[in-house]
């Protein structure tokens, strides 16, 4: 099993969710986060005083999938979240040792 984690632009969230549902992903964890990449944040101006705002708002998705689906899911997120402009985000996958469904005690693939 793999954990696919993606950090995307907030306004692409609906596109990504639709694409993942169409593919058949049944659940995910979504958080509102903030951070920055190579482009840093942005500048705001108040009465002529410029402030560098380092952290910009993002959405983070966490999805546990079977090994065979990991590349497809990552690819779907990349396609749906891409605007081509700076700050589109990142997707990465990492191994997951085990998963247990709390309600039933089901394990691993059955629990996803």
């Amino acid at each position: 099993m793999k954990l696919v984690t993606a950090v995307i632009k907030p306004h692409k969230w609906e596109d990504v969710r639709e694409a993942l549902e169409t593919f058949g992903v049944t659940g995910m964890t979504v958080s509102e986060v903030s951070g920055y990449g190579r482009q840093k944040g942005h500048t705001e101006v108040y009465r002529g005083a410029e402030y560098d705002v380092a952290l910009v708002p993002k959405i983070r998705l966490e999805i546990v999938v079977d090994d065979g689906d990991a590349d497809d899911v990552a690819g779907i997120i990349v396609t749906a979240a891409r605007t081509g402009r700076i700050g589109d985000g990142k997707v990465w996958t990492s191994p997951v040792d085990s998963v247990v469904r709390v309600r039933t005690g089901d394990r691993d693939s059955t629990a996803i």
Partner: protein
């Protein structure tokens, strides 16, 4: 006369609204979220204190016509606690009370986030007594000896000198004496809620009609109803048009200098225009009002950057908006003033300005008026500021300032947005929490 009194009661209410809630919201939104309550409290406290001392001795210093030094102020005792002021004078007295209140409250914008509330409570009545009441006498008292109004002859319709230059200079002096906020110029000190500021600016604009239109003065040689109609119409139109032009002026400068027209710029343009047209509202025509608005909007937009260049922390730009705007409006009367005449042109100023064939005379008078206001306010404020600095002290300690003045000075915080973490886990304070022993007994029973 009944109609006039009803009009003045409404005008008085409008000006009262300018301090609370309008100025409190305007300033409160511009501070950081940890300081908004203290910022608002300075307006509310100014209202309470200045209102009380106004009826005790302020009105007497400004408008009684006996005792004192007529050039600068009159006796504080002649009409102490309104003794000798008939009820028929109460509406005018209350209208003028609101001017004293808001002028003092305006200063608080220069010293946001860092001043002991007790120091503000001490400063307010002394400053009103030593700076506002004398300047108000020189401008609004307008007896034969009054310096700005009579001896110099400078025009000031609703308070460019006594209100805005006075508050602006006081803000500058306090900012210099008290010093900068911890982290000024290094840490971001962004406005925490521009929607509050926008609401406050709009309410200030509405309230300002009471300020300017309510400042109507009757002259004995004109028919009162004709003059009322003409003068209120002119001041209403001028107040509106100058403000509109100032929004444009501010936004144009922003667009050129910083690339974007901002919301705070629009709100600031509103105030800059209102400040500048205040002294000129009854003295200029529409073209003059548009010019005054445009110039003040543009100049104030530029002037708010001075604090970073000159390195003083006038936190919410009392200097950049009120001092600069007040000077622009007061001086430009010397260019655009048109004389009141007969018939359609019954409303207007006392003399013709430079652009209407009046020569340099009016401009020089206006400049002298500005200089007197700057000198008087500067000297009085410096005296009080230093006296407080070397006795009780102005500043809260650095750690409290960083943590937030709201909690340090008032024991409150403005917002409770994270209930599950900040108050949920902490629970009730010990004093109000049910006694654990009692609770246990109750459970056993």
């Amino acid at each position: 006369m009944d109609g006039y009194n009803a009009f003045m009661l409404v005008a008085t209410l409008l000006v009262l609204m300018m301090t609370t809630p309008a100025l409190a919201l305007f300033y409160g939104g511009m501070t950081r979220s940890k300081s908004v309550l203290n910022m608002m409290m300075m307006s509310y406290a100014a209202m309470a204190i200045v209102g009380i001392i106004w009826v005790l001795w302020g009105y007497s210093m400004v408008f009684s016509d006996e005792g004192g030094i007529d050039t600068f102020f009159n006796s504080p005792f002649a009409n102490f606690a309104l003794d000798g002021v008939g009820y028929d004078g109460y509406t005018f007295m209350m209208f003028q009370l609101t001017f004293a209140v808001i002028t003092t409250a305006l200063i608080s914008g220069a010293i946001a986030d860092r001043v002991k509330f007790s120091a503000w409570l001490v400063f307010v009545p002394i400053w009103a007594t030593l700076s506002y009441f004398p300047l108000a006498h020189m401008v609004f008292g307008c007896t034969d000896g009054a310096l700005i109004c009579s001896q110099i002859g400078a025009q000031d319709y609703a308070g460019g000198t006594a209100v805005h230059i006075n508050a602006g200079v006081a803000g500058l002096v306090l900012a210099l004496v008290i010093g900068k906020r911890v982290g000024f110029g290094r840490e971001p000190m962004r406005p925490h809620n521009l929607t509050l500021t926008m609401l406050g600016a709009a309410l200030l604009w509405v309230g300002w009609y009471g300020f300017n239109v309510g400042s109507i003065v009757f002259s004995d040689d004109l028919d009162a109803s004709d003059q009322f109609l003409a003068e209120t119409g002119l001041t209403f139109a001028n107040t509106t048009l100058a403000t509109m032009a100032a929004i444009i002026g501010w936004l144009l400068v922003e667009k050129v200098l910083h690339g974007k027209a901002t919301t705070l710029g629009a709100a600031s343009g509103i105030v800059a225009g209102l400040v500048a047209i205040t002294p000129a509202a009854g003295a200029v025509n529409i073209l003059g009002a548009l010019a005054i608005g445009l110039v003040s909007g543009a100049l104030c937009a530029w002037a708010v950057g001075l604090k970073f260049k000159l390195n003083y922390d006038d936190s919410l730009d009392v200097v950049g908006v009120h001092l600069v705007g007040g000077i622009v409006g007061t001086l430009m009367i010397g260019l655009f003033s048109v004389t009141a005449g007969e018939g359609d042109n019954i409303a207007g100023g006392a003399v013709d300005g430079l652009f209407y064939g009046g020569g340099l005379g009016s401009l020089v008078d206006q400049l002298l008026g500005v200089l007197v206001a700057v000198a008087w306010s500067g000297a009085a404020t410096l005296l009080i500021a230093l006296a407080i600095k070397f006795t009780m002290g102005w500043r809260i300690d650095e750690e409290s300032e960083v943590e937030g003045i709201d909690f340090d000075q008032h024991g409150e915080s403005a917002y409770d947005l994270h209930t599950s973490l900040s108050s949920g886990s902490g629970g009730l304070a010990a004093a109000t929490r049910p006694d654990p022993a009692t609770r246990t007994e109750g459970a056993r029973a």
